[in-house]
Symmetry: C2
Subunit: 153 residues, 2 copies
């Protein structure tokens, strides 16, 4: 968004905060993607692998909730990861609607190799702020990002 808007002080303040928030997120993510590209992973694919890596196996709906992606999209993301042998699908025994997604050995190896590189990038990018500033940024973002976002399916 442009910054040229002339309005009440409070509006300008909110607008500027908002614009810079969105820009900062896009900017940092954009600078992290080359690492994922090298591994042949999209941001969403990386996110899925990383979630499974750190939180363990889960069903697709849960994964979609973590990634803020629609159900149909999760199906495609998992399809592509499955084709590459990075995850497996298995119907849950107790609730046969649920499909548990699980990292394979290959998937674990891949994300175990890529994640540290991405993490190093995050540390580098956020390192533009001092420790206290990073914590303050986190605090402010948590407040603003508090409420849930509804996503289809």
């Amino acid at each position: 968004m442009g910054t040229r808007y002339k309005g009440a002080k409070g509006e300008v303040r909110a607008l500027n905060a908002f614009i810079n928030l969105v820009r900062a997120a896009e900017s940092v993510v954009g600078r992290l993607t080359p690492v994922m590209d090298e591994a042949g992973l999209t941001v969403s694919q990386f996110g899925a692998l990383e979630t499974l890596f750190h939180l363990g196996p889960m069903c697709q709906r849960e994964l979609g909730a973590k990634l803020l992606k629609s159900g149909g999209n999760v199906t495609m993301i998992v399809n592509n990861l499955e084709k590459r042998g990075l995850v497996t699908r298995s119907r849950s025994g107790k609730d046969r609607r649920r499909v548990t997604v699980r990292l394979t050995r290959r998937g674990r190896v891949l994300i175990g190799r890529v994640f540290p590189v991405v993490l190093a990038g995050i540390v580098r990018e956020m390192g533009l702020l001092g420790p206290a500033e990073q914590e303050e940024l986190r605090r402010l973002c948590r407040i603003v990002g508090k409420r849930e976002r509804a996503i289809g399916n």
Copy 2:
């Protein structure tokens, strides 16, 4: 990203700041989209109209730079806005490679109606923070989002 990562203090701090930054941006944008949906505008279309509204006519490349979108995408965004009669294209006289995009009367009316509603939403969302906090968030985001992102075409 999950928050379960166990690592060095600095890494955890950077990761948490990053995660909450991205989530906050997605979250706030997500809560603003219903207004744009009602007007039949995608986020990108809204961004294009808003940019033209506040900064005036400009060529597609410049628009793409503001929106952080690729050249091909700008072509499509402008195509769709043009089809709906919200903007016009015109070849520049002095540099015939350039296409100046300009709001039509209809386009100006539409964005003039929709923008205030979106702005009110932004004020509402950012209002979860006090004035000083909004300014601090802006300051931190500006630092982190400083560098440019390269985009194709």
